[in-house]
């Protein structure tokens, strides 16, 4: 059932076998999996069924590090996350594909890399996530989808650069699962309920009380839970652990000073343009297939990505690109300075490559390297509940930009080697020039080679908050173990993208839902029996 915590009597002490904090993608997935398991489950959700400004204001915080987004339009911490039933899925774009094999591996070039689980460990849970997210078959290869749709073609498929496919369905977890939660017998969702402190037993081994408040002033608690799962998002998860400092001054799970560290985002960089011999309509059918699809329907969209082999062998960070396709005849980027696409395409054709038919624009999504100085902290300002507001110090290094350049250059190399086309690596040099208001795509781009700065181009972001309670076998390297349990607290678990071991280049929701399904299974099999 769904109840309003504002209606609780002050001092109410709820009881439950499982207390889930947060009703976003992870929390709702966990609650649904535990329904019918013979357990009592309480879910505390800060928000209501719709967005309420005073509740959303609790997400406000200060960004003290790198600019979130592009400098002329920075984002704020209360605009990129949503406090309402369903959480941030209420405005996500619905892109789903699994992390690559290499994302789980130890990579010498990436300090602290390696998850304590493998892609193979997660495969069954990825597949199990499909009905939760309304997706199609567990297939992300272009061969399958082009065969299904009967149209489209890949750009490239080599051992180093592959064409892959996103499945897209922007399922809102609140509206989608609201009635199911309302009808649930074992699960009770309390709206407008904010966890503010996790209290331990005398030995300091277990959480024995979750203290909560409402903005209306109701203070209540959940007592003696067998399991507590923090599922508040990549920024709020560390915030609550850090703020639960009444018994452990550094916060829960923070004995190694790791809670909140290694904050990762996905860089979003307009990274390259290219001329290729492909039929633009065939490319569009795969790479821009989502544009014409009906809202709410399952859509697919191609991407060009470095393979695991490339990332592994070249010591790169993961990188994947979405494409905007134009017909070379009508749409091609204009060169403000330096060599233009026309000159290069003409030379390529003269030296044996097929004549250009498509102009392409590459929007790269790139992995951020783990960086302990990139972190979530508690600020000095308190919110109306008395919780320290969050302070985000996002930091990245030259290695992040260098890997984007190197990865895109590798894609350009492979396009040239295979005779498909020629690519210009142009991060930070692309300008958008709206032309006729009709198709402001490649034809509306200009590239200024003189503006190239391989060490200083702007890094946009994907609004994906990851790795702040990262998963690791060694407590010296991560906050939670392979089962998402906080190393130093017996019954405390952390779900969501904060527990990712590394950030990869795939969007996170699909993976965090798979991890939530895996956690629910683990709890039922090993913990709550």
């Amino acid at each position: 059932m769904i109840l309003d915590a504002e209606s609780l009597a002050a001092g109410t002490r709820l009881s439950a076998d499982v207390c889930i904090l947060g009703a976003g993608a992870a929390g709702i997935t966990l609650a649904r999996e535990l329904e019918g398991a013979g357990l009592t489950v309480v879910v505390l959700e800060s928000g209501a069924e719709t967005l309420e400004p005073d509740i959303q204001d609790l997400a406000r915080g200060e960004s003290v590090g790198e600019t979130l987004g592009f400098s002329d339009n920075p984002a704020t911490l209360d605009s990129v996350r949503l406090r309402q039933l369903g959480g941030t899925t209420n405005h996500w774009a619905g892109f789903c594909r699994p992390f690559d094999e290499v994302d789980f591996e130890v990579r010498p070039a990436l300090e602290l890399s390696g998850w304590p689980i493998t892609r193979a460990d997660l495969d069954p849970w990825y597949e199990a996530a499909h009905p939760v997210l309304g997706l199609g078959p567990y297939r992300f290869d272009w061969e399958y989808w082009v065969g299904q749709e009967g149209a489209g073609e890949p750009l490239i498929d080599t051992p180093l650069v592959r064409t892959g496919v996103y499945q897209i369905k922007d399922l809102r977890f609140g509206p989608q699962y609201r009635d199911e939660l309302e009808a649930a017998r074992d699960v009770t969702v309390y709206l407008r309920a904010n966890a503010v402190d996790l209290r331990l037993d005398a030995a300091g081994d277990r959480v024995v009380e979750v203290r909560a408040k409402t903005l209306g002033g109701v203070e209540f608690s959940v007592g003696d839970p067998t399991v507590v799962i923090v599922a508040l998002g990549g920024i709020e998860n560390p915030r609550l652990l850090l703020a639960s400092s009444s018994q452990r001054p550094a916060g829960l799970g923070n004995e190694q000073d790791l809670v909140g560290r290694h904050f990762c985002e996905h860089f979003a960089v307009p990274a390259a343009v290219a001329a290729t011999g492909n039929d633009p309509e065939a490319l569009s059918a795969l790479f821009e297939a989502d544009l014409d699809a009906e809202a709410g329907s399952l859509r697919i969209k191609g991407e060009v990505a470095l393979t695991s082999e490339a990332v592994r062998d070249r010591g790169l960070l993961s990188l994947a690109c979405q494409l905007v396709v134009g017909a070379y005849a009508q749409e091609r980027p204009r060169a403000i300075s330096g060599l233009g696409i026309s000159e290069v395409a003409a030379v390529a054709t003269a030296t044996g490559s097929p004549p250009p038919r498509s102009s392409l624009y590459f929007l790269a999504t790139a992995e951020q390297a783990l960086n302990p100085e990139s972190r979530v902290r508690l600020g000095r300002e308190l919110d109306p509940l008395g919780m320290p507001r969050v302070e985000l110090d996002w930091q990245f290094t030259d290695k992040d930009r260098a890997s984007i350049i190197e990865g895109m250059t590798l894609i350009g190399d492979e396009l040239g080697r295979t005779g498909i086309g020629r690519l210009q690596v142009t991060p930070g040099t692309i300008r958008f020039e709206r032309t006729d208001g009709i198709r402001p795509y490649v034809g509306g781009l200009a590239v200024d080679a003189d503006a190239a700065d391989p060490t200083g181009f702007e890094l946009g972001l994907g609004f994906h908050h990851m790795c702040t309670t990262r998963m690791a076998t060694d407590p010296a390297e991560g906050v939670v173990d392979a089962d998402l349990r906080v190393h130093s607290v017996d019954n405390l678990y952390v779900a969501g993208s904060s527990s990712f071991g590394t950030a990869g280049a795939a969007t996170p929701t699909y993976t965090l839902v798979a991890l939530a399904l895996r956690l629910a299974d683990h709890l039922q099999r090993r913990v709550l029996t």
């Binding site: 967005l51 400004p53 959303q56 987004g69 339009n73 704020t76 605009s79 990129v80 949503l82 405005h91 774009a93 619905g94 892109f95 897209i168 996905h266 979003a268 633009p280 821009e288 989502d290 544009l291 979405q322 905007v324 134009g326 017909a327 070379y328 005849a329 009508q330 300075s337 060599l339 233009g340 026309s342 000159e343 290069v344 003409a346 030379v347 054709t349 003269a350 030296t351 044996g352 929007l363 250059t409 350009g412 190399d413 396009l415 040239g416 080697r417 020629r422 210009q424 690596v425 300008r431 958008f432 020039e433 709206r434 009709i438 198709r439 509306g444 590239v447 190239a452 994907g462 969007t507």
Partner: protein, 132 residues
């Protein structure tokens, strides 16, 4: 307050290409009343900037800015053995004999990056022949 992510990112999309976080969607901004996008099947228009000769000179000149020591026709022809010591008068159809060498450059990593363009050393040296 309506903290819609699309609103947040509106400004990321100068010129109508919207970058939507959470999925990094690239959306075509087109109002319902707008006419459809132009067809992609029309024949290419004349492009004064890309006649083969002009393009070769432009690329070759740019390469020689970075590698002035290669501004030597004999050297360049020596590096392009498939040309048999002659600079083709009609470069379009004649330089195709370099395709295999250009492909091999990519396999061996003999690449040149000019203004961000990832090119084989063979093709830029071929272009340089027309710029010396």
């Amino acid at each position: 307050m309506s903290p819609d992510r699309r609103t947040v990112l509106k400004g990321l999309a100068a010129g109508g290409v919207a970058v939507v976080g959470g999925g990094l969607v690239i959306r075509q901004v087109r109002d319902a009343g707008d006419p459809p996008p132009p067809t992609t099947t029309a024949p290419p228009p004349p492009d004064s900037r890309s006649t083969v000769g002009d393009a070769l000179v432009a690329v070759g000149t740019r390469y020689l800015e970075d590698e002035p020591q290669e501004a030597d026709r004999a050297f360049l022809l020596e590096e392009l053995p498939a040309l048999d010591g002659r600079v083709p008068e009609r470069p379009g159809p004649m330089l195709g004999v370099l395709a295999a060498q250009a492909e091999a450059d990519h396999a061996t990593g003999d690449l040149v990056v000019l203004d961000g363009w990832v090119l084989s050393v063979t093709e830029v040296r071929a272009a340089a022949l027309y710029a010396v």
